[in-house]
């Protein structure tokens, strides 16, 4: 997350850059990012390829994802709309800079073992 003191304007001023400008006006992720959902986990690989063509936002995502984060968390920390973040992530997936958890299931979890783990986890907090 960027330190707010780094910026001379405040949040009330709104974004200085129009959201889609971050992704050169693209509104759809590349095929590599089509399956991304709010909770897809993203993790940066330790060795990134040549960074020359990456934007500041791309690099910020790589930094954020040294520890696994969901797409929704990346968007929140980047202060960027989800759709924009999905486009940026699709670039990184295609380049092989980040890996993601498997495609999200579109049906509810039906694995009792999984639910038991969640139940135990919630009870333990």
């Amino acid at each position: 997350m960027s330190n707010s003191s780094d910026w001379w304007y405040d949040e009330a001023a709104g974004p200085m850059v129009r959201p889609y400008a971050m992704v050169s006006g693209r509104t759809r992720p590349k095929p590599a990012g089509e399956d991304l959902t709010l909770t897809t986990q993203v993790r940066a690989l330790r060795t990134t390829t040549e960074q020359g063509t990456l934007s500041v936002e791309h690099l910020e995502i790589i930094k954020l994802c040294r520890k696994p984060l969901s797409v929704a968390e990346v968007a929140a920390y980047l202060h960027a709309p989800l759709v924009v973040v999905k486009v940026l992530l699709s670039d990184l997936i295609q380049r092989g800079d980040v890996i993601t958890s498997g495609p999200a299931t579109t049906v509810a979890p039906v694995d009792l073992n999984l639910l038991q783990k969640v139940l135990d986890g919630v009870r333990a907090i």
Partner: protein, 202 residues
Amino acid sequence: MVSVQSDRPGSGQGGEELLVPSSVKIVVAGGFGVGKTTMVGAVSEITPLRTEELLTEAGEEIDDLYGVEGKTTTTVALDFGRITINPELVLYLFGTPGQDRFWFLWDELSIGSIGAVVLVDTRRLDAGFGAIDFFERRGIPFVVAVNCFQGSHSYTAEEMRVALDVADTVPLVLCDARDRESCKAVLVRVIEHAMNRLDVMA
């Protein structure tokens, strides 16, 4: 969903495996201002985060009703929290947008969720009807949690069940959305309810 998968090998330079956790989610639904984000914040390990979805085409027509014809994009804010179950599994809690005109987003949030909490406020019971109806119709396991704000403890769970017209098969609990233990108990009920339904189906 349990297994950690990836299209690409998750190995770094030294060949070590990089773990990418799986995720599950529970939806916290209810009317505007009922305390959804408060509930998420009470159990989340992080301060609830906010992410924004930009709506263009879908928002346009609806916005006309509100007299802002010139507006082409609408922003919907989603608040969410996180509970790390273990290094391989993360639970996310998503609050639904309160306004009725964002129903279609509820679908996206509900798909693949363990279940839902419908949070209702005794002072505005009608605000909960839409959410109850939504999860009933889709067959998504849910519990009704009545948020008892201070001074509104004047109803019993049974009275609330009748007033909300909730089937006996749907758990109904009284809670305090500000209280961590109380919200934990609500989540436990959701997960148990989802597990019971699986047992019945099996």
